[in-house]
Amino acid sequence: MSLSTTQAPTLSGVAAVSEGLPGHPAVAAILTLGENSLRDARYDRNELTLTVAPEDIVPACSVLKNAGYNFFEDMTAVDWFPSSPRFQLSYHLLSHSMKERIRLRALLADAVNGALPSVASITPIWPGANFYEREVFDLFGIRFEGHPDLRRIMMPDDWQGHPLRKDYPVEGYR
């Protein structure tokens, strides 16, 4: 099997990434929020993933935007059912000046008593996140507090359930 050697070695953990990528603007920006704000970091397949707490998403986006990651490219969720914490939110931010993309990640626990888990909306920072957050709300059932118009976007308004969740039945009657 032909393995390419173009990919940089994997760095796992905050210490390894800080050492392997000294002075990286994204890591430095997150660390301005506090010593423990960077929960995890990983540099894998030439992609940098930074994990923060869900309550830090908005300040993290804000400092990253000021650090040059000016373009909000994509945002989605992953359902790790039945593991805990259940949801992973992945934000992809692009820097037009540095020609570099980073992934900002937050792990979100499922809410108890059938309520929907919730996280703050980043629409005040990037209005373009509006449709993406509506999509995640619709298909994963994650609420975004402070979103201007949190309605279903893909499914009909009276739909029951959130289809991209892993426990959503894919066949038979719902």
Partner: protein, 418 residues
């Protein structure tokens, strides 16, 4: 013959039995009421099943609310139930006007997860075919955009060239629109004999065809008046809304992933990225027209420097063996059987691969849990965020301008609704 009695006049305003208008406020006078107009989902100028709820003051647009989801098929959910190689045909159907760009983006993402090296010839053919696909996408945009404005002729001209591109697709993939020509690890097969000559013959005539479209439109006073100064989108707004591709470059933001974050050997090609600072519908028209000329140049470079060699990676557990080998070698037969029935396992991890397709930046975010099926596939398609900028571009303009603006952002509903 009996004489017909006169038809009763139906007057819903004065007829209480009609049950209408009972809730009208008493102080409504002409010129003060906003009108809500449904545009779509079956409107010819919305390029598919886009529904716009437009709030109008006379003919002036006050608000535009896009209502989407009419074409939602849950394609991301479907991907989770397929083997990695079975997802490739699904990607064609997302943006059916630029199928090879979708194939490319998905394959690059899986190859990144697998850390596979793709032979040069496969990479160059990928570039050549993706640029043909971009031409295809831009030709449809130009034809339908001009048709929306009222210039019907151009549509017939662009579809003439598009037909030739579809024939080229058919020659390599056996399919005109849903090509699935790129596979994880390379191409499904090498191009047929004489194919490169056909591409050469096609692109030799293409620059003068683009001149032809330009002659029909660029000096046309009606076309100019309908486009110039319409649909203004400032660079700040474009970035805030996540607009990418030609609309972003027409707003003066100089970013093109082919040049700035190259993939599939694009760094070896020499091309210009057209930029305009006019920020209007006309600028988007000009940018795309120049992009078509640049695509022709890229295809010419690919033809001139086309390397020889294999078109599939040397990875027998991932890439299907040649037909001949499968019939003569036990090893190849076993690999073939295993790949088809069990798929191939992909190391756990997550990747995001972004490319520049005809409409803008496409991105595939794939999360693998180490099995033969993707745990999560998310598709970022450019029309989805660009639609959010529609209100900013058309607010305060006449409703007829909305048609020009929708045409200029070049939307495909398949990629919005997924």
């Amino acid at each position: 013959m009996a004489q017909l009695s006169p038809m009763p006049v139906f007057d819903p305003i004065s007829d209480p039995a009609a049950g209408l208008n009972t809730n009208l406020p008493s102080d409504v006078t002409a010129g003060t009421q906003k009108m809500i107009l449904n545009m779509g989902p079956q409107h010819p100028a919305t390029h598919g099943v886009l529904r716009l709820v437009v709030e109008l003051d006379g003919e002036v647009i006050v608000h535009v609310h896009p209502e989407i989801g009419y074409l939602h098929t849950g394609i991301e959910k479907t991907c989770e139930a397929k083997f990695y190689q079975q997802v490739v045909p699904l990607t064609d159907r997302v943006n059916y006007l630029d199928p090879l760009s979708n194939n490319l983006c998905y394959c690059l993402a899986v190859e990144k997860l697998l850390d596979l090296e793709i032979p040069d010839r496969a990479q160059w053919i990928r570039v050549m075919m993706t640029e043909l696909s971009r031409l295809n996408s831009h030709l449809i945009w130009l034809g339908t955009h001009a048709m929306d404005i009222g210039a019907l002729t151009v549509f017939l001209y662009t579809f003439r060239e598009r037909e030739e591109i579809l024939r080229l697709f058919e020659a390599v993939a056996g399919q005109r629109m849903m090509t699935s020509y790129f596979r994880v690890g390379g191409l499904s097969m090498d191009v047929p004999l004489g194919f490169l000559d056909r591409v050469q013959a096609f692109i030799r005539t293409m620059p003068e065809k683009i001149d032809e479209y330009s002659n029909l439109l660029t000096g046309n006073p009606i076309f100019i008046n309908r486009l110039k100064g319409v649909g203004f989108l400032s660079p700040e707004d474009a970035i805030a809304f996540g607009v990418t591709g030609p609309p972003l470059r027409a707003s003066g933001v100089d970013i093109d992933l082919r040049r700035d974050m190259p993939y599939s050997s694009y760094e070896k090609f020499d091309f210009k990225v057209p930029i305009s600072t006019a920020c209007d519908t006309w600028a988007r028209y000009e940018v795309r027209l120049i992009e078509m000329r640049e695509s022709v140049k890229i295809i010419q470079q690919a033809l001139d420097g086309m390397p020889g060699g294999a078109v599939k990676a040397d990875a027998p557990k991932i890439v299907l063996p040649d037909r001949e080998k499968m019939k003569t070698q036990m090893e190849a037969l076993i690999h073939h059987f295993k790949i088809v029935t069990e798929g191939f396992e992909v190391p756990a991890g997550e990747v995001y691969q972004g490319i520049e397709c005809g409409h803008g930046q496409v991105g595939y975010y794939i999360v693998s849990d180490g099995t033969a099926k993707p745990y999560r596939v998310h598709m970022r398609y450019p029309s989805f965020p660009t639609l959010q900028a529609l209100e900013t571009m058309s607010k305060g303009r006449l409703i007829a301008d909305l048609v020009a603006v929708i045409g200029s952002i070049d939307i495909v509903l398949g990629e919005i609704d997924r």
